[in-house]
Amino acid sequence: MFDWSFVQRYAPFFVKGMEMTLFISVIGIVLALVVGLVCAGIELARVPVARQIVRVYIEISRNTPLLVQLYFLFFGLPKIGIVWSAETCAIVGLGFLGGSYMAEAMRAGLQAVPEVQRETAYVLGFTPMQSLTRVVLPQAVSGAIPGIVANVIFLFKESSVVSAIALADVMYMAKDLIGMYYSTYESLAMLVVSYLIVLLPISLIGTWLERRFDYARR
């Protein structure tokens, strides 16, 4: 029933596909982190106007599916002269979607640090900068890490959607092989294994990071 020679022959396809998945999601996640950091910074510093724009952006990005965002970027924008490659669209899409999730995670981390911590540091003779870097930020990071890790895994999984704009990731490979050879068992098994191989370690590293930065309980 299960054709191992097929797996041997086409496993390299999935390795190639996974390279694409990794390429898109790693760059997309880094972009999301940068966008998130900027947005969280703007919200916390209460920059006028920019803050409202960030709020609107977060609401829009959190309440629309990535697939529709990608279709808009890939098929819609060229009509007004903005032509991006599929890779660019995928990365921008992931960054746009992930930015808001990251911003919320970071903001939640910072807001979880009670005001009294900063005041206490101030009373003890820390400068505002010192109290931020030595007292507030370490606690904020430990509060934000679980959310950020969850978002990284979420974005990695969301990247499976990029096959819809003809990027040859693992989803695309699976669908292609099923279509060409009717090799449902083997292709789906390789698809599941590919994701497990990459996502299991990420989720384990995530758990480790959460413990590593959990200063309160360490």
Binding site: I60, A164, Y185
Partner: protein, 224 residues
């Protein structure tokens, strides 16, 4: 703003709304059916039996770690081959969303139930309430407050994930949009931008109120 007239063409908006209705219907059925599944899974997770807990753990972790699109492929292409069970695309979507929503909701239920201190049910018992009364009148109201905001957020995620149905060939709002775009390719070459823009907006209009409700609930019940 050239090309926007496509939206005023007779039949365009009504058809898009019909497509949106399919999307909302799939999402609604999935969300409603996830509730009993989630309650069951959550209850199973709090049981003492190690076998049941390990099984539930594997179920939850597998569903969590696989991209939803991969799960859809497994149900749509896999089930037909493995079990000779020919689900149509809509059926596969609903099944996957129920299994996924049930797993996620189950974990939320477990968290909510376990966050209620043991002493609450003990006190209820001492005060003369039966086990069932204690559960309904003491544990459940508290658990619901912790459960509801996250569940509404989960519903938003399910609505958004419904967009993947188009990749299995379900004729929902995105597919209808593509059909309209293709039919008007020569008449309105820039229609693509507008149609996808409207679909984008439609999803936003459906999901945004849910997000607001979730946030309100969270705020109101945060400090109770």
């Amino acid at each position: 703003m050239q090309g926007a007239e496509i939206l005023l063409q007779p039949g365009v908006m009504p058809r898009l709304l019909q497509g949106l209705w399919v999307t909302v219907w799939i999402a609604a059925v999935s969300v409603i059916a996830s509730v009993p599944v989630g309650l069951l899974v959550g209850w199973l997770m709090t049981l003492k039996s190690r076998v049941v807990r390990v099984l539930m753990r594997i179920y939850l972790d597998f569903i969590r770690i696989m991209p939803q699109l991969a799960l859809l492929f497994l149900a749509y292409y896999g089930f037909a081959r493995w079990f000779d069970w020919n689900l149509d695309a809509t059926g596969a979507c609903v099944l996957v969303f129920i299994l996924w929503g049930g797993a996620e909701l189950g974990d939320l239920v477990r968290g909510a139930l376990q966050s209620i201190p043991e002493i609450q049910s003990e006190s209820a018992y001492v005060l003369g309430l039966s086990n069932w009364q204690g559960f309904v009148h003491v544990i459940l109201p508290q658990a619901l407050r912790r459960l509801l905001p996250a569940s509404v957020n989960l519903a938003t995620r399910i609505v958004k994930t419904t967009s993947l149905a188009v990749l299995l060939g379900v004729v929902e709002v995105i597919k209808v949009g593509q059909q309209i775009i293709d039919a008007n390719r020569f008449q309105y070459p820039t229609g693509t931008l507008w149609i996808y823009g409207v679909i984008f907006f439609m999803y936003f209009i459906v999901c945004w109120p849910l997000s607001i409700v979730a946030r309100r609930l969270e705020k109101r019940w945060a400090n109770d």
